[in-house]
Each structure stands twice: as structure tokens, then as C-alpha cells.
Amino acid sequence: MDFKFTDEQTMVFETAAAFLAEASDSAAVRSAMVAANGYQPGDWQRLCEEMYWQAILIPEAHDGLGLGFVEIAGILEKMGERLYCGPFIASAVVATSALAAAGSDQQQASCFPRLLAGQTAALAYLGRSDLWDSGAVTATLVADGDNWRLNGDYQLVAHAAGSDFLLLAAKRPNGELAIAIVETDSAGVTITGHPTMDQTRPLATVTAVDVTVTAGQLLNSGGCCAQLVDDLADIGAISLAADQVGGSQQSLTAAVDYTQERVQFGRTIASFQAIKHKAADMMLKVEAGRSALYYAACVAELWRQSSAAPGQLAEAAAMAKSYCSDAYYFVSGTAVQLFGGVGITAEYDIQLYFKRAKSTESYLGSGNYHRERLAEQLLGPASPADQEAL
């Protein structure tokens, strides 16, 4: 086990920090928050052209960078630090991973060049919001001659609005899960963006009414995609954990900087032990979260190379997402407290981190949700009936 970054990786992250400090500064974030689809298309285009990060998980054979999840996690940390608003996780991580794992040669040959050129995609699978794995799929895929018809509603789809194509999960009558590549402008597809409390993470509802799907649109050669959906949910959770580590780090840094300047009772408030101890507790959670993330990133990379052990990705994602979700809420909430009154203003950015902590906490499963998943692995199901049924 080696938890050291290579020199190349360190360089990538330093470049990312420098780029985002400018491209995703407070003004850029605030402009994205009120933009039509939650981000400025020009900013995304610039990122694709200058950084080429949309290519990280695209294989070199398709002109991608062929890098992996350690790079993804490190860049996402930097994005989290800067409240980056673009569709990076939805498109360049989750949808791209789906295509890389289960796309046919033909599908990859047609989709990857579009993504490389700056188009975006989003995976939609949630028919309900009490579950975050393949069990949450309620849309249906029914045969219609040589083709299929897809019907259903998808909730809480991150960065769907503004995307060029969608990956829609749907159940076949035999219970198997399919994923179809569907153009956003296909007949029967409606995407409705919603105003969100955390304005840095846009969510949409996607509705599919009698959308025609052909065999060539189905991932995994039309085979069952339930495990893939479960895995993609875990990949998404690990990605959010990376964003949370970055956001926690920045909340801590900003709060400590503020307390070093603010003077009350004739001394900086940083000199009060109550404040120092809060800061120490914040740092402990940031660093512990980072450790959980780095392990999860290594496991995600094993998954990408089809060499993770069964259950390993699920466990790593559950540990990282539960710890980092709680950590971000604690750290950003404590940061708001350390800022005092200015922490409650719209003008200071710390409130944006606090909101993002809460939105990323619940999305793809809260701490409690993921801990129950771990408990099932460690203890078996909670109810004796379920246990007997095993």
C-alpha cells in the first residue's frame, strides 16, 4: 500500500489549484449560480480546452488521457475548495465511466469525441429518493417491434439541464435493468431544472414518455446493468466525497484566516482556546476524511481496471461518503460560527460552503444511509425475518 502521489500527480493538482483559483473564483461561482443551467457554458468550454479534464477517464485509444481515479479525486478536491459549478462529476466522471465500462466500440466511437469536444452527458436512474442504488429505478423499457419504448420519471438528476445526451436506466419486464443512450432532444424527453437551496449544484427532473430506443442505444450490449448502476452510484458518492474534502479544507482555511484577523477583547479571536480547539477538531475531520477519500480513490481505480474485489467498491464508497458528508457539515457549520455575524451574510462565501455541505451530504446517500450499508456488511440485515430469509 502506497499513499504517496507521483510527481506527475502532484503537478496536475498544483495546476488544477492555480487554474480554479482564477476560473472558479467567488465571482465566477456567483455568476454560475444564477446562470440558466447552473453553470456558464463558456466556462465549461474553457476548462475542456485549457485543462482537457473531460478526457481524464477516456481511454487513450479514443484520444483521451487514460488517467484514473486518483487524478479525478485530487482534481475534485480542488474543485470542492473552489465550489466549482460545472458538470464535471455528472459528465466527465459518472457518465464517462458508464460508457468506458459498458459502451460498445461503436457507442464509444460516437460518444467520446462529443464529450472530448465539450458536450456533456448525465446518468438518470432515480425514480424515488429513499434509495440510491439500482433498486431506485422505476422507469420501464418495453419491447415495441424491433425497438423498445422507454417511460418514466427521474428525480434529482444533477446537471441534466444543459446536457447533450442522457444515460437513462429502465427496468425490463423480466426485472433486468437496461441503460439507454438517449439524445436530450429526442421526442418524449423533457428536462425541467429546479431552483435549489445550494445554487452551486443544479438538479433537474427528467421525464420520458414513449421514448423510442433502438438496440444500438443500449449499454452492455443490452445485458443487465443493475450492478453497473450500483457501481456508478458508488463512483458518484466517492466523487462527492472528494468535493466534500476540498470544501471542508477550504472552510477550515477560511475560518482560521478570519480568526487570525478579527480582534475582540484586545486580542485576535484565534488566541481563544475555545476557538483553537474547534479548529483542531475541524482539522482532524478534514484529514481523516482525506484519508478515507484516498483509500476510496484507489479502490475506484481498481474498479476501473476491473480488479476490485466483490463488495470492495461499495464498502470504500460507504466509508468515504459517510465520513466526508458528516465532516463537511461539521466543518462548514463550525466555520460559520467562527465567522460570527458576517458568516450569516450573503456576501461572505462561507455560507455557500455550508449549503454545499448539506446538499452533497444528502445526495447519493447521507452518513446514516451509508453506515446502514456498512452495518449490513458487518452484521447482516437488521430484521430477523430478513436474516432467516438468507
Partner: protein, 395 residues
């Protein structure tokens, strides 16, 4: 960054495992899982013999450089050794303080003569050490040490007077390293010396203190004109603070990494109990067990990050949170163990105050957040050294 195991390290792991398997047998088989917290006084003589058996096999002091009789094992290998030791149920190490604290300090700061005199006794499991830092008026504020050391002009010999307290293992030890004031009237970090004092002499009295576990791991140690040769002063008569702090650096470093496998054994016991007594159905117990599992795994990854930071023992950010992190985790595990046991936790196994491992864990783990720098002191250190916040005002 990857999870692949290094081949040489894996070979080392199997070498350790098979040596322990072969040797923790016969007369030593009864020592498996004994001598831990709350059980310190079981089989003391047998455990000293076990230290000598380990020494004969070359398994004490493996992290010391070869020139001092160690194996020059890398930090990874030391962690592997400790993991396998805990996995095999190796007994509580009586030689721990000598091996991980006094030895490395002598290697870094001792004279060639001191190294030749004391290192072999530690390595061979013949001589045992305890730590004489804390005093009634010097706990977190170690700089307030009042024990005095005076040098006789003619012989150069030092006479030590004063009292230490909370001295772990003093009853079983041959020597104590004592921080004492060499400059009358000096205050704080100045004017202190670091002495290696033999305990078996008329000027030293050791009085065990009964702990909340019923056992007496720590003691009061009284010095009443105790004698210490000038050659047993480490560093100069005013370098004691520097030596004492370097030793604490060792205490907060590698020496605690091995305990993670012990923690895993404890957590496994809690999980097995929850499964068997039905508490696995309780939603909050499920949440807490998952939290403990995640917390322990993170502890491991924290240390992997620490190890990636180099072998110089310098404290990186991950290392600065390490003590606060593990002590709090372990204390919470103790409470979880009690809650999984429920009211049954109150029943003791027999006469006297005999605690089961989990009962002992609950009580003893309260000390984890106190010794080796309390959680509050750790938070001060993190805030000041890692986050650059102002230092505490002094009274």
C-alpha cells in the same frame, strides 16, 4: 498511490507470522492475549521470559539500526510486525518502553559508552525501563518539574530528590529515566537534566497506585538521595528538555502504529457480541458499529499517509492528528462495547475485581485521552503547530 502490497514486505509478514506461530506455543501458549490493559500483572515473569525468547529469535528492537543490534526494519515492516504480533495474540510487551522510547533516545542522544552499557539489556529482554516525567505539580505542564538533581563536586555523582507519579511499570522495571532540575532556581524548560536512574537502590521507593480497573499499572516513585553516576546523564546537565521532547516524538510516532490490530481484535469481539446477543437489531448500535469500523479503517489510512511522508519521524499534518484521533476512537469503542453488552456489562466473571477484556477496555480507554498528552493538549498543539494559531498564554 495504490493498494498493492510490496512483495518483500509480504515475505516479511509471513516470516513474522510463522515465527510467532511456532514460538507462542508450549510454555508460552498461555500468554496469548494476556497482559493487556487491566491485565498488566498477569504472568509477569513468564512475559519477561517471552521477551528473552523474542530476543533470541531477533524479534525485539527490529527498528533499531543494525549496528545497535536491531534489524534496521523499515517503518512498514515495524507496522507489519506489530500487526502480526497482535493478530497472533502476543502478550502485552513489558519491554515496550525500553524498546520504543529509551532505546531510540539513546541511539540519537546517548554517548557510545551509554549505548554500549544500556542497549544490549533492552534488546536482550533483560532490563526493563519506566518513564519518570510526571510529578504531582507537573502533568500537562511538564516544564514545572520540581525533582532536584545535585552533583557532588568530588565524585561527580548526582543525588536525586523529589517525587514522580503515574510512573507505569515502575514495579517491574530496572531503570527509570528521570527529568530533574539541575539548576537550582531555574524555571520551565531551562535547567533540566535527563537521568538514567537504577530503581534497585536504597534511595528509591516505588508505591503502586490502584487504578479504576482494580490493577496498578502506574506508581508513585519517591527519590530520597537516590544516586546516579555522571555517566548516566544523557546530554548535558541543561539539555534535559531537548532529550525529553525528542523521546516524546518517538512516543507519538511509530510506537503506537502497531496497536491498530489490537483495536481490530477488540472491534471484532464487539461485532461478534452484537450478532450473538441481538443488539445488532438496534438501529443506533448498527450506526455506531459502522462508525467504529470506518473510524478504524481511516486510522489505518492516516498512518499510511504518515508513512508516505518519510521516515524521519517529523510530524506531518496527518501525524499531528494521530494521537487525538486514535485516543478518541478507542474511548468511543469502549463505550460502544458497554452499550452492546447492555446491563449484562455490570456482571463480573468472578471474585475480586476481574474484568473481561471489553469491561477493561471501557475503563482503561479513559486513560488514552489523558496520557502522552491529553486531548486538550493535543488540540493546542494542532492549532498552534499545524494551523499557526497563537500560543497559549502562560500564567
Amino acid at each position: 498511490m495504490n493498494l498493492a502490497q510490496n512483495r518483500a514486505d509480504e515475505l516479511f509478514r509471513s516470516e513474522v507470522a510463522s515465527w510467532l506461530e511456532q514460538n507462542l506455543s508450549g510454555e508460552f501458549a498461555q500468554l496469548r492475549h494476556r497482559g493487556g490493559p487491566g491485565d498488566e500483572h498477569s504472568f509477569v515473569e513468564e512475559r519477561k521470559a517471552w521477551e528473552q525468547c523474542m530476543a533470541a529469535g531477533g524479534w525485539t528492537c527490529i527498528g533499531w539500526p543494525e549496528q545497535h543490534g536491531g534489524r534496521g526494519a523499515s517503518i512498514e515492516q515495524q507496522v507489519i510486525f506489530n500487526e502480526e504480533y497482535a493478530r497472533a495474540g502476543g502478550p502485552g510487551r513489558i519491554g515496550h518502553i525500553g524498546e520504543t522510547l529509551m532505546g531510540p533516545t539513546l541511539i540519537a542522544y546517548g554517548s557510545a559508552e551509554q549505548q554500549a552499557r544500556y542497549l544490549p539489556g533492552i534488546r536482550e529482554g533483560r532490563e526493563f525501563w519506566c518513564q519518570g516525567y510526571s510529578e504531582p505539580s507537573a502533568g500537562s505542564d511538564l516544564g514545572n518539574v520540581k525533582t532536584r538533581a545535585e552533583q557532588a563536586a568530588e565524585s561527580g555523582e548526582w543525588r536525586i530528590n523529589g517525587q514522580k507519579v503515574w510512573t507505569s511499570w515502575a514495579t517491574e522495571s530496572n531503570y527509570c529515566f528521570v527529568v530533574a532540575r539541575t539548576q537550582p532556581g531555574s524555571v520551565g524548560h531551562k535547567g533540566l537534566g535527563f537521568f538514567m536512574v537504577a530503581l534497585d537502590q536504597p534511595g528509591v521507593t516505588v508505591k503502586p497506585i490502584e487504578q479504576l480497573t482494580g490493577s496498578s499499572e502506574f506508581n508513585e516513585v519517591f527519590f530520597d538521595d537516590a544516586v546516579c553516576a555522571d555517566s548516566d546523564l544523557v546530554g548535558g546537565p541543561e539539555q534535559g528538555w531537548q532529550v525529553a521532547m525528542a523521546l516524546l516524538g518517538f512516543e507519538r510516532g511509530v510506537s503506537t502504529l502497531g496497536q491498530q490490530m489490537l483495536f481490530q481484535n477488540e472491534l471484532d469481539e464487539v461485532i461478534a457480541l452484537a450478532k450473538s446477543n441481538g443488539s445488532y437489531r438496534d438501529v443506533t448500535i448498527r450506526q455506531r458499529i459502522a462508525t467504529a469500523h470506518t473510524g478504524l479503517r481511516i486510522m489505518r489510512y492516516n498512518s499510511m499517509r504518515m508513512l508516505a511522508g518519510g521516515e524521519d519521524g517529523s510530524l506531518s499534518k496527518e501525524a499531528m492528528i494521530y494521537k487525538l484521533y486514535w485516543s478518541s476512537w478507542h474511548r468511543n469503542l469502549g463505550n460502544l462495547a458497554m452499550d452492546v453488552m447492555g446491563a449484562q456489562a455490570q456482571l463480573l466473571a468472578g471474585d475480586g475485581y476481574q474484568l473481561s477484556r471489553l469491561q477493561g477496555l471501557f475503563l482503561y480507554s479513559r486513560a488514552d485521552t489523558i496520557y502522552g498528552g491529553t486531548n486538550q493538549i493535543q488540540r493546542n498543539l494542532i492549532a498552534e503547530r499545524a494551523l499557526g494559531m497563537p500560543r497559549e498564554p502562560r500564567g
